[in-house]
Amino acid sequence: MALAVALIVLVLGTVLFHFLSPWWFTPIASNWEMMDETVQVTFWVTGIVFVAVNLFLAYAILRYRTGRGGKAHYEPENKKLEWWLTIGTSVGIAAMLAPGLAVWARFVTVPEGAAVVEVLGQQWNWSYRFPGEDGKLGTTDARLISLDNPFGMNAADTAGHDDILVASPELHLPINEPVKLLLRAKDVNHQFAVPQFRVKMDMVPGMVTYFWLTPTRTGQFDALCEQLCGMAHFAMRGRVVVDEQDTFKAWLAQQPTYANTREVTAGDPSVGEALFAPCTACHGAQAQGNRELNAPKLSGQAAWYLVRQLQDFKNGVRGAHEGDVYGKQMIPFASMLADDAAIRNVVAHIARLPDQEPETTVFGDVEKGRKHYRTCSSCHGVDGKGIWATHAPRLSNMSDWYLARQLQNFQKGIRGSHPRDFYGSQMAQMADVLADDKAINDLIGYVDTL
């Protein structure tokens, strides 16, 4: 009796929940409305079956519970009834399958003339490549990937020279233009998913996968990885910005081609030495850092990281938060460097400076810190020397008080909350793993031993 009532309540509750649920598809931003429609069709067909079968079940329990009808009815088979049920079910299945397959036929047919963009996934971020003027993407090889060639471009293939490389997790697409996304992965399986687009596809190392869509709404959309790709899977975030045509073209024109990136010369340390003079006031002549002036040690830090931080300070990505008192001080100094060439020169000078061991100023439980560091080691390396591919700077042998303060800043949102600070926002999510300042001190205490 109670069971029959419970079943009825569960059926009605489920139907109510369905209609009252605050969670439903995000507003669509692509041409795939028909996917939403097939979902709706499926909801109707399965919903009717769900209600009918379970209410009938509840009724059968109520009507035929023991003590009411006496003996059960002996009826091994009822061919006619069984056939009708089979036919009815088949019709319902066909009603769902047919529209599904019809939409799938469109999914597998990329419209002619669709623009092509390559999405390149890696642990734990994305970058993108446009074919450039010749409309052709150059060939690539995972074995060519290095700090200077993160896309693994094949230099011998001239078709790749005009490819436009977007070394940032933010992709811009023009509205109302069909685009075929070619997907490639450097290391492990990933997936490029934007919920508002509905369509998505895994990216698999060793092969090129694809899907297509037409963006139908301007705006910014989160790109997520939905294929487990390791420790920081949940923090792998990108952004797709759908622009009007002109805005898109302007954005694309700002991105460097592969040829451009190859022309970039190494910094000149002798030029950089002069540029470094103002820096010495705080960071010291040997870039050894100065705690009293809140200036961290720079010597020994990876060049690519210093370059990006200087660019970020200059472009307002870092130091923009009100709470970032010391970061703000850095902005005018970074702005004194006229262009990227100047930044590379000064960083080249820093790279020449001796890497002295800084003073230990943070003390914590090293054993506990070792456990915390397991999480960090995925990006920063077991030895704390940093890994360029994961955009993770060196931690070992750097100013420990500075590391502790940055962890606090990440936790408080003082650092890593700027919308264009993709790698900082990843670090902010990771910093949340540390429960309190004690955990931070334990961790840094361990990092000091590396």
């Binding site: 079956v49 003996k71 009815h73 529209p99 369509v199 698999v204 949940f234 793993v433």
Partner: protein, 589 residues
């Protein structure tokens, strides 16, 4: 009457009931003891997996609260939880546990045909579990690659347990498959060769049909997992490139080249999809018998049920790539696999109709096993219907990788079979121990589990439609489309999960307490027709049947036969004035 080789020569085999404690309970060759051994180990390791699910729910419901759950731990929990529940709990319990216990008893055999191999099967299974547990204590901890263990991720840095953990996992799986093969060959051969006289295939209880078919599926599907485990171990240890293309891991070029990650996925799901039915078919069979017994009515459409089991078994081998619609395989495969997947819904739906129609016009006794059986119908209808979303390639695309998938497979493959496991334990415990489980505790257990699990999984479907991705350690506030209400409902889900997990302790208590204090059950407390209830002793002794094997005269479902005074006629009762022949089909009496 069918000629059955082993039953006709039964008198040639002398029975030696072992007397020493060790031969009787430890190195036992008695299928009933082996069944209990399997069940105890499966439930014990299942409790570990249950604890892990509690830990990951704590992290999801209350992120940043539990400092000891770091991202790598979370991924290790989800991996181990999934693998243990699917393989080491459900597969082992349904086949090694119920298969072992029920096949010889229900078929009227003395034991499995290869008792020594049956014993080995259990001990090798135990070894597999021990290697699995050992993998939790190696440097770097267990693997956190997700239960699907996809390469290249599973063996590259950046994934927890990518060196030692994954090797232990793969080794444990390979050992498990050895154990299963010894058991599976036994189950299949016993059903084919050792049925008693009169037990034609079309008179077998559906429990046996389900377990029998599932064992065949296992024998055909597990080798795919076995070879992929071996190949991945070679990739990891020796440096072969079966599944490994040229990659740049952490910015460094690797030694691999030319392998195919998708090959692993095909092999894994060629095993993985039949695996769903390796768990589901025994559940289908067992629940059919529970419903029929407690509704005092013949199972409706027996022959259709048997053919449906066989049809599902065959079809289950041609649907695997519906797990891979957006894996990057050629998208044209989607047409084929969506069609086969939706076709499999037809025999499955027939089974559901026939269960409901068995209750219809029955004499329904709402005993504890019956509550679980009916609860199963509800959860299975729910989980089966959401399968029609994910099986239909177009509908799958926006939903795959989200919480909709989590909700679907937990309803259909977690909650549904486990409700059958519980129902079956309440049903057969009296035969195994001679005592009834406590009914009040059983009802508490049922209601809390049934309602509690629905409270966990119903909202998850809608989070999935919103697009909330699964396998995320935390949901940063910076994901714009995820509103705060998602975090709130995650807390509620966690609270429900804690509640459901806690209530399972009531069940464990009941299992232990009733051993001593349960009401004595007698030989056939449910007044059931099948052979296991007709044994001369309860619990049955070694050899099951005393001096003479039973002889079967009718199908397994002669409940409420018209003009019979009692509402059930056991299978071994010959037709008579007071026990008229039933109107079974498929056999001429």
């Amino acid at each position: 009457m069918a000629f059955v080789a082993i039953a006709d020569r039964d008198h040639e085999h002398a029975l030696h009931d072992p007397q020493s404690f060790i031969r009787k309970y430890i190195w036992s060759q008695d299928h009933k003891v082996i069944a209990v051994q399997y069940a105890i180990v499966a439930i014990a390791i299942g409790l570990v997996a249950l604890t892990m699910s509690v830990l990951m729910r704590l992290q999801l419901g209350f992120p940043d609260t539990f400092a000891f759950i770091a991202p790598e731990n979370y991924y290790q929990f989800i991996t181990m939880h999934g693998m243990i529940m699917v393989i080491y709990l459900l597969t082992a319990l349904f086949l090694g546990g119920f298969g072992n216990y029920l096949i010889p008893l229900m078929c009227g055999s003395r034991d499995m045909v290869f008792p020594y191999m049956n014993m080995l099967s259990f001990w090798v299974y135990l070894l597999a579990v021990l290697v699995l547990v050992a993998g939790m204590f190696v440097p770097g901890g267990p693997t956190g690659a997700g239960w699907t263990l996809y390469p290249p991720q599973a063996i590259l840095p950046g994934t927890p347990g990518a060196s030692w953990g994954i090797i232990c996992m793969l080794a444990s799986l390979a050992i498990f498959i050895v154990a299963f093969t010894m058991g599976g060959l036994n189950y299949v051969t016993t059903v084919l060769q050792a049925r008693c006289r009169g037990m034609t295939l079309m008179r077998m209880p559906l429990s046996v049909w389900g377990i029998f078919t599932a064992s065949i599926l296992g024998l055909l599907a597990f080798p795919a997992l076995f070879v992929s485990a071996v190949m991945m171990m070679l990739d990891s240890l020796v440096g072969t490139s079966f599944f490994m293309p040229a990659v740049a891991s952490m910015g460094e070029p690797s030694r691999y080249s030319g392998g195919s990650p998708l090959l692993f996925q095909h092999l894994f799901w060629f095993f993985g999809h039949p695996e769903v039915y390796i768990v589901a078919l025994p559940a289908f069979g067992i629940v059919s018998d529970l419903l029929s017994t407690h509704a005092r009515r013949n199972i409706f459409g027996y022959r259709m049920m048997v053919w449906a089991i066989l049809a599902i078994g065959c079809l289950s081998f041609v649907v695997w790539a519906h797990h891979m619609y957006i894996s990057g395989m050629n998208p044209y495969f989607g047409f084929f696999f969506a069609t086969t997947t939706l076709i499999i819904a037809v025999p499955t739906a027939i089974k559901v109709y026939n269960w409901v129609l068995t209750i219809w016009r029955g004499d329904v006794h709402l005993t504890v096993p019956m509550l679980f059986a009916i609860g199963f119908i509800f959860t299975f209808v729910n989980g089966g219907l959401t399968g029609l979303f994910l099986g239909n390639v177009t509908v799958d695309v926006p939903l795959s990788g989200t919480y909709f998938v989590v909700a679907h497979f937990h309803m259909v493959m977690g909650v549904s079979p486990i409700l059958v496991v519980f129902g079956a334990i309440y049903h057969w415990y009296p035969k195994m121990t001679g005592r009834m489980l406590d009914e009040t505790l059983g009802k508490i257990h049922f209601w809390a589990t049934f309602i509690g699990t629905y409270a966990i999984y119903l909202p998850m479907h809608y989070l999935g439609i919103l697009g909330v991705p699964r396998r995320y350690y935390a949901y940063s506030n910076s994901i714009e489309f995820i509103p705060p209400s998602v975090h709130e409902v995650n807390q509620w889900i966690t609270i429900s999960a804690l509640f459901v997990a806690a209530v399972q302790m009531v069940f464990l208590f009941n299992l232990v307490w009733s051993l001593r204090h349960g009401k004595p059950s007698g030989d056939n407390p449910w007044r059931a027709t099948t052979l296991e209830w007709q044994t001369p002793d309860t619990p049955p002794k070694h050899g099951n049947w005393g001096k003479d094997l039973p002889v079967v005269y009718r199908w397994a479902y002669d409940y409420s036969v018209p003009s019979a005074p009692q509402d059930f006629i056991p299978q071994n009762v010959p037709p008579d004035d007071r026990t008229p022949a039933g109107r079974e089909h498929g056999v001429k009496s």
